[in-house]
């Protein structure tokens, strides 16, 4: 383990003070003159037609400025939802413009929006709106939607129906140890503390500003400008801070377009802050999954076949699919035959979306529980089983994994945890009356990189402002980008001001798929080269510069803030001196957006291992996670503290997934029965164990010049399986449908 090699400095958050003092302004906190407030009216049927909307009482209610519905809404056009997400066109997972027509596709769909001068007036008037429906029989269950099921061949350009080798032959071979089990996960809802929200202000008929809580300012800009047929730059999107997202702010959801429509109708800026209860129906959720996993292995543990069949739900107004099998069984272990199938069932429920590690997270839960079951069937240590099946090459793409240090994750994790003291026999370990269980699981998440651009303004005093339309979801991105800018540009950390969250800035892609640090990091690397070349051009023409008349190709940064000859570093000049001598207060350098070409010779994945201890009172078997070790191999860690936070947050979210998170629906109306934070349980401090996080490996310079592979999602992957495996070890009971609430252990 060479931590010095991969760990960046443990920076405090550059925005920490602004956040704790309340100075950090979140999107819906901006004070926009004359701003009115919107309050939605939701459908409480899952399918049917709106037959009438009686707004007479609401119209007369004090302060009401407009009531928008399909009867009168200004109609933007459908902004081409289906274009690739990498193109910068923005993402829409619900492919329907709100208030488009009188159709109801799911319970909780916005059917009208009341705009009033105050939020209280809007809320009151919304209750006075009477909507009548002609309900139709909705499809709410997987079985009911059988006839409409489809098998998508791809998910974002990636194959999701996979077949290598001869799976059938292996499963027919009775000399192999075989297991086959079905695992299920419920609907889970992101529930960041900051609800989604948009302020829309039309400055002119063709000019719109949106303050929107989003993971993708440029995507919002693209979609909204195309919806209203405006030049892209006429729509400005502002979002300096996001109070958590986990994926639910990556796509443009109905409230964004609805806010713009309402502002147009009311003739004033409108703020539409999504209610907590609508966070369960209008901004996506993790779709429930049913996953059948079959494994066959030789008596000494070598996998011969893996099969992973996933069924998930999607809505009737979207196509989102959660590729659980392809993103777990499709990458995790060396098996000569792999068969992954995926089927999606469209039902009358709101549209699902990506939630932290979409696919990898539920997929790894199923696969890593199945691996544990296989280890027991083989009477083999689960860590050993995984080491035996370690994949040096991508098992489907057949190219080597870059800078993979998974074995080290197992080894370091096992050591820190004390795994060797584990008695593998279920229900054999005790702490007084309590059952003790130790479980583990592998983590993996792909390294994604996209194209981004950046701009720097370097001042003669040696300070710089760097801009990119990227995002900080509360993750510490401001701090990481300040750190990378400092290293790459060659300026002190304190002298850098990093600005993000504005569509005016150079392009940044969606902050999703753990791509931001790698993507923007690379853009900052390119920006630094461009800056240094610009400075070199000034220096070589300057008679007073030691670099005069040198070939700019021979010049590079030889020390922070200093350019010099690559061959003779005694010939050098500082950034500040170069600027001062040409009497420039500042220079601005900007890099263009380039599309990122995937390196097909390698497979890039981050890896990790979770080790978890649970304690369970056998009489009242609520599971308590008492400690966890998480060891991560994600290339270079740009700055240690926020990175560690990401893993801790991800593992805790995985614990929540394992033990308590579930959005339950009313089978009669299709409405979520659970749609507030009292009933939707996420881990509290009392549920969260001490989590020991370690990083191992080496920087992955094959992947990008910063050497980092991203860290936002991998924390949750595998964590639920590690908990579920620990529960089995503690109790001897294998619960295969999450969450593992105490009733399932009675």
């Amino acid at each position: 383990m060479a931590e010095g090699n991969i760990l960046g400095p443990a920076r405090n958050r550059v925005d920490g003070k602004a956040k704790v003092t309340g100075a950090a302004k979140y999107s819906v906190e901006f004070e926009v003159p004359k701003c009115a407030y919107a309050w939605p009216v939701d459908s409480n049927i899952a399918k049917g037609k709106i037959t009438g909307i009686d707004t007479s009482a609401a119209q007369k209610s004090p302060g009401v400025l407009a009531i928008v519905s399909h009867l009168n809404a200004p109609k933007p056009k459908e902004p081409g939802a289906k274009e690739s997400r990498d193109s910068g066109h923005g993402i829409r997972n619900e492919e329907r413009v709100p208030f488009a027509d009188n159709e109801v596709h799911y319970a909780g769909q916005y059917v009208a929006l009341v705009v009033a001068q105050t939020i209280e007036q809007a809320r009151h008037a919304a209750r006075l709106v009477r909507v009548s429906y002609a309900p139709e029989q909705p499809l709410l269950e997987m079985e009911e939607a059988e006839h409409r099921a489809r098998k998508p061949s791809k998910n974002h350009d990636e194959n999701v129906q996979l077949k290598t080798g001869n799976v059938d032959a292996a499963f027919a071979d009775s000399s192999l140890t075989r297991i086959e089990q079905t695992y299920s996960t419920p609907t889970e809802t992101h529930n960041p503390i900051e609800m989604s929200g948009t302020i829309a202000a039309w400055e002119a008929d063709d000019k719109l500003t949106l303050w929107d809580s989003t993971q993708f300012v440029k995507g919002v800009q693209s979609i909204v400008s195309r919806a209203w047929n405006l030049p892209t730059e006429n729509v400005r999107v502002i979002c300096p801070f996001v109070g958590g997202a986990f994926g639910c702010k990556g796509a443009v959801w109905p409230h964004v377009l609805a806010a713009a429509m309402a502002a147009k109708a009311a003739g004033v800026p409108v703020k539409f802050h999504v209610r907590r209860q609508d966070m369960f129906t209008s901004i996506g959720h993790r779709t429930p999954t049913q996953q059948k996993v079959s494994l066959a292995a030789t008596p000494d543990g070598k996998l011969k076949a893996m099969r992973h069949v996933t069924n998930t739900l999607t809505s009737t107004v979207g196509q989102f699919t959660e590729s659980a099998g392809a993103r777990s069984t499709g990458v995790m272990y060396a098996s000569p035959s792999i068969w992954v199938e995926e089927t999606v069932f469209p039902v009358n429920m709101s549209t699902p979306t990506f939630m932290r590690a979409p696919g990898e997270c539920p997929g790894s839960y199923a696969l890593e529980c199945a691996m544990d079951e296989l280890a027991y069937a083989l009477k083999m240590d689960p860590v050993e089983l995984r080491i035996i099946n370690h994949a040096d090459n991508h098992p489907v793409k057949n190219v080597p994994f870059s800078a993979k240090h998974l074995k080290e994750c197992y080894q370091v994790g096992a050591e820190k945890f004390g795994w060797s003291k584990r008695n593998p026999k279920p229900a054999s370990m005790r702490d007084g009356e309590l059952l003790v269980g130790w479980g583990m699981a592998t983590k993996t998440y792909p390294a994604h990189i996209q194209g981004a651009a950046a701009r720097v303004t370097l001042k003669a005093d040696g300070s710089a402002t760097v801009q990119c339309a990227t995002h900080d979801l509360g993750t510490g991105a401001y701090t990481a980008f300040t750190q990378i800018s400092s290293e790459q540009l060659g300026l002190p950390f304190e002298k850098i001001r990093f600005e993000l969250g504005k569509s005016d800035y150079p392009f940044g892609p969606v902050a999703g798929g753990s791509n931001s640090t790698a993507t923007v990091g690379k853009a900052l690397h390119e920006l630094a080269e461009a800056l240094h070349q610009t400075l070199a051009q000034l220096a070589i023409k300057d008679p007073k510069s030691p670099l005069q008349n040198q070939n700019p190709q021979d010049i590079s940064m030889v020390a922070p803030g200093r350019l010099g000859l690559k061959t003779d570093s005694s010939k050098s000049d500082t950034f500040i001196d170069i600027l001062r001598r040409v009497r420039r207060d500042s220079i601005i350098v900007e890099t263009p957006l380039k599309t990122e070409q995937a390196n097909k010779n390698w497979a890039f994945q981050s890896w990790g291992a979770d080790f978890v201890e649970v304690k369970i009172n056998p009489v009242l078997p609520r599971v308590q996670v008492t400690r966890a070790v998480s060891v991560i191999n994600c290339g270079r860690v740009v700055t240690f503290k926020p990175a560690r936070n990401q893993i801790i947050g991800g593992v805790n979210m995985g614990i929540g997934m394992a033990l308590m998170e579930a959005t339950e629906y009313d089978p009669q109306t299709g409405l979520p029965a659970i749609r507030n934070l009292a009933d939707y349980h996420v881990v509290t401090n009392a549920d969260a164990p001490v989590i020991d996080v370690a990083f191992v490996g080496e920087p992955d310079f094959t992947f990008n010049p910063i050497g980092c592979r991203g860290i936002g999602e991998i924390g949750i992957v595998g964590a639920a399986a590690a908990v579920a495996n620990a529960v089995y070890h503690a109790t001897g009971k294998r619960v295969r449908d999450l969450p593992i609430t105490l009733d399932k252990l009675i």
């Binding site: 909780g108 009242l620 109306t669 349980h681 509290t684 009392a686 009675i746």
Partner: protein
Amino acid sequence: MNPFAYTRAASADDAVNGIAAKPRAKFLGGGTNLVDLMKMGVEAPETLIDINRLPLAQIEQLPNGGGVRIGAMVRNSDLAEHALIKSSYPVLSEALLSGASPQLRNMATVGGNLLQRTRCYYFYDPAFPACNKRNPGSGCGAINGYNRIHAILGQSDQCIATNPSDMCVALAALDAVVRVRGPKGEREIPFADFHRLPGDTANIDTNLAPDELITAVDLPAIPFAARSHYLKVRDRASYAFALVSVAAALDLDSSQQIKAARVALGGVAHKPWRARKAEEELTGKTADELTFRAAAEAELAAARGYKHNIFKIELAKRAITQALSTVAAVS
């Protein structure tokens, strides 16, 4: 939220007169339940009479060993941390501390806690058309819906909601008396008669008249209540309502024979459930696990579950047994 008027009562009489004059008024205690329900559109009082300034925030020992009087405006946190309560009625302190969060307990009052309404999803969210409690005659959404948190004892086919209070389970076990004042003067309501079973009037939670003010709760002197315990079983380690809870106290002689027992259950019924059958079963027996389990079986014999809450029957039995074992082990 409907527009509403706000007034502040200067005295208990002022409060009672105010509410008598305005039938669609409600008292405002800590507001942690009422304001929430107003925002959801479940409650729509025309006037809020703020009773936070009433001098009802004392906890006092009653004369001649008569127990303790707790003012209706005592905050849940203050009650939980009060030395007299912690030493003489630990079950009450523990029940309070197991409820909600510190912030909520700092606001919540004894009077408000007594009247907090069910957390039945269908009641709390008016998007659901059917709820006899919210809208009499509309049906019960929970019976054939998602009913994990619902009742297994004393329910009717009109309503299977549970009372969510932890504090009230302890008060039921302690035979508390609710002191109220109305236009016709003061009266006392024994705790067992305070909350109601749903029957076919699911919309009425308690026997308190709409124009009555709760002024205090009296706890009788129960020396053996010093040996008492509250056990709350829930879906996460804190900040969750009870799936099942047990308030228990035991009076044991030197040979571990049970002279008297108090057992009440939460999370199982429309009211805090005094487990009289279990108590009968316990009295005169030896305090051991077999006795405790038999008592639990007796109490739950009449229980009936639904699709998502059937597990509560066994859970309640285990919780009773565990809580009594814990109490018996208290020296």
